[in-house]
Symmetry: C2
Subunit: 537 residues, 2 copies
């Protein structure tokens, strides 16, 4: 920024020019030039090297015609080059778009057609899919091979581009500039591009460093997918703290153990099922995991039995939970270690998602956006500088999601007298029957206790009498039997009658799943609601 543009900014009221992620990378390269930034596939690069490579990536993309505000896609497993995409496009004011590799090709095409990147990067595993996408999306002018070895036919070579590029200074910009589009479909249909600005991810990263009581020079093991905001956003907090990332292409228990031992990893981010797999792995005791001192987890609260086991088997580790979503960059609430008690008065908090993070405010409201009382269930709203700018190309959906200046999460929950937030359901999965609210997860939790139930989903179906009726869809365990009357009685013995299913469908094939392996209730509801006027499905 020149002195002139500083004056111009004071006039224009634009966002802060210094709240930019490329500046954070330049800072790391100055504060810790020779410190390790990333280790992947046996090679390690320092912060000075990563900054140089990101500057070169920016220059190379500019050479391919990528301009300010243009998009750059990436379809790949985690790698060191993937981390560079978190800064390289931003170097020239462009926006990166990570494509979820778990999607089917037609879904990937939807994402690319919506975000229209000029350049698409892919690793060796995803070369064919990238070709199919480019064939379907004529806006993709260049394919770039971001992997080891020679580039396949039709691809430019990432390393050759970097070698030929002349690194320069980051272009002018400000905190309000888009940094990334993270696509999220969740269980609600078409993919939506969540527009996150530099300020959004800055606020989340610094709030995370503060909330997790992070120190400089951590050694962080990255085994979650970089296309997801939870794992991806850690790139930025690790940059702020000049930490060393040990990057895995994806999660694998024994590789995680080996890397923790070899690189003296101090911090990891896992979901509870990963922790479960680690603790129950037969070779758990064969590795030295004693350097690990902090585990962040999210996506689900920690079941009490698992928490107890984890505290016992990893006595030197403190646990932080976070709850959030892509639209919040992603942290909304955090629960620090001192609230991870399995006994005593604090144990009741273990099933909560903690309290609002330092950088985020939370309200719980009714259908008219009025605050509900302590203990009462409502929709969870969030506000803070971490909240997205909106959905790409979807102004109406944006206005709806951000109405009143608050992000409407679609999650139902309540706040207890100490300010802890408890999730109960997705708002869309809540059933209103005879004027009573029924939370599907509560009923499902009961059904799962029946010995014959392998999978189940509770949905609302049309009812002349009740508006909606509670209905169960059940997959039984192999070789086990149970009938409708038995399952309904099983519920009635345990929860209020109005919450119990009035009918049960037995299903002999697996449940329909979303891209992130959640049961697609919208698909289950659909046949019942065809012909009915409703906005629910």
């Amino acid at each position: 920024m020149s002195a002139g543009s500083a004056a111009a900014r004071a006039e224009s009221g634009a966002g802060d020019p210094n709240q930019r992620m490329v500046y954070m990378l330049q800072r790391a390269a100055r504060v810790s030039p020779d410190g390790p930034a990333i280790t992947f596939a046996g090679r390690t690069r320092t912060w000075a090297q990563v900054a140089d490579r990101c500057a070169r990536l920016g220059a190379a993309l500019a050479g391919l015609g990528v301009g300010r505000g243009d998009r750059v896609g990436i379809l790949a497993f985690n790698s060191d080059r993937y981390m560079e995409v978190f800064f390289g496009p931003a170097w020239i004011g462009a926006v990166f778009v990570p494509v979820n590799y778990r999607l089917a090709v037609p879904e990937m095409v939807e994402v690319v057609a919506d975000s229209t990147p000029r350049v698409l990067l892919a690793d060796a595993t995803h070369v064919d899919q990238a070709r199919e996408i480019a064939a379907a999306c004529p806006g993709v002018a260049h394919l770039v091979y971001a992997d080891d070895g020679p580039a396949p036919e039709g691809f430019l070579e990432y390393e050759a581009l970097l070698a030929a590029a002349t690194p320069g200074d980051p272009v002018d910009g400000n905190g309000d500039d888009l940094l990334v589009l993270f696509y999220t479909g969740g269980t609600t249909g078409l993919p939506k591009g969540v527009m996150l600005t530099n300020t959004n991810l800055y606020a989340n990263a610094m709030g995370g460093v503060a909330g997790y009581r992070y120190r400089e020079h951590a050694v962080f093991i990255q085994c979650g997918p970089m296309f997801h905001a939870a794992a991806g956003s850690r790139v930025y907090s690790n940059t702020m703290t000049c930490s060393h990332t040990i990057m895995l292409p994806h999660f694998d228990v024994e590789t995680v153990f080996r890397c923790i031992q070899e690189h003296r990893v101090t911090v990891g981010l896992f979901v509870p099922t990963m922790i479960n797999m680690m603790l129950h792995h037969p070779r758990f005791h064969d590795y030295d995991l004693t350097t690990l001192h902090q585990i962040n987890y999210g996506a689900a609260p920690m079941p009490e039995a698992l928490m107890r086991l984890a505290l016992e088997m990893l006595p030197g580790v403190v646990f932080f939970q976070a709850y959030g979503m892509t639209e919040a960059s992603p942290i909304v609430t955090t629960m620090p270690p001192e609230w991870h008690a399995t006994d005593g008065p604090r144990a009741e908090k273990l099933s909560s998602v903690g309290r609002p993070a330092f950088h985020c405010d939370v309200r719980i409201v009714d259908a008219d956006d009025n605050d509900v009382a302590v203990g009462e269930v409502g929709e969870i709203l969030a506000r803070g500088p971490n909240i997205m700018k909106g959905y790409w190309n979807k102004p109406e959906l944006t206005a709806q999601a951000l109405r009143g200046g608050w992000y409407h999460t679609g999650d139902a929950g309540y706040r207890d007298r100490d300010g802890f937030i408890f999730l109960v359901d997705r708002v869309k999965d809540m059933i209103i029957t005879g004027g009573e609210n029924v939370y599907s997860t509560e009923v499902e939790n009961v059904l799962y206790r029946h010995p014959a139930v392998k999978e189940c989903a509770i949905i609302g179906i049309p009812s002349e009498t009740w508006g909606e009726a509670v209905h169960a869809v059940v997959v039984l365990k192999d070789g086990m039997t149970a009938d409708e009357a038995e399952l309904i009685k099983f519920c009635r013995d345990r929860i209020a009658h109005y919450k119990c299913p009035r009918g049960v469908d037995f299903r002999d094939r697996p449940m329909p799943l979303s891209g992130v392996n959640k049961i697609l209730k919208s698909a289950l509801r659909k046949p019942y609601w065809t012909g009915h006027r409703t906005g629910i499905v």
Copy 2:
């Protein structure tokens, strides 16, 4: 913000609408409504009460004709009402201007004439000065008495205004909006209004929470002056953490002891001289100070002997140093406890100011703004979202201070191989003699070791031969003697000849001091430079 204005923002590219301090206060009132926010003069208010009072203050100011962007001044000792001024004007998009009560009235008038507040608040101690200021500044339409008891003649009553006001929602705004003008004169002449935005102070506060590894619900003792950014900015970090501030009107050792014991204070911010006074106070051992577990200090590194004493006498306390200035909101570097060693290899860092804070980048440059090598002295530059928007009404000074997008601190220092920053001098106090740089503090440190020297200042004076010559101004201790030759020889025995004074002036009255009790070298230099062409004085 309405849904419509969210869409408008996406269009306009304005700063983030959620990075606002009033929202942080609303968050604290939701997360910890009944938690204590502030205790002053025997009364305690909760976060919900403080938020309500700030909303009322905003509404009351609007009723006095204060609009978006207008200024509101305050001239007062620290109090609970002073803290409300950190949010009340911002509630309606106005800007507050704390006036340094240590200034002489003509200096206060300069500040008020420059910032043109419509309303000026004052406490009981400063009623007369406020009247004089208002008489000299016709733009001040209202005087408000922000203290206990009935308002004096010509003043509106703060409490009556709040009681009559109807609290509403904060007006629309964004992170780039000005929040405060902190006036700084330092040792460099006319007062400058440092424009700090919401984002500036947000970045500093969250970076401070992260850098100090702060936890929620701290009990913080505030004894530094609120008109200064170091103490004032803590209002915001304490709001983010829902901490409890024990507010003192000003520093007093025994009051500090009593408050720590009574309120179980956990965190304090002091300058080294305050710590020195505390440790040497005869009643140190009469109070229970064991709840104190963190001391932040700044303005000067901790002398080794004092550090050793502090670690010994306060064994449960961790020490964090910070270096900064108003223009950086104010934190630039921090030094965490693990680097406060008085023995072993880490002890050499004790005289440094630490490394760049998580939210701030630092460069050390020569006169042409080129980076110097490790170990080489240059000017310290800083960049980050905490860096001011500029100086109020001073576009040229702003452009000069922020040239190249970096704030030029005017401090000279160097970086060691581990990235620690060491201050050596103010750039303006550096003397260039025969092409060599001489840092005045280095020479002063030698002179101070002479038993007869009570006070000294090293300045550059005009020299035909050398451009500048090193010159000493000395005040001797009562009843002690020393002559020019003796003092020059004393220096020559200890440091390089070119650094030694070529002349000494003995002064029989105290040194001229700035508002913050630094020796005013510009005043000492002035008589020597009169008639010379220079920009130094």
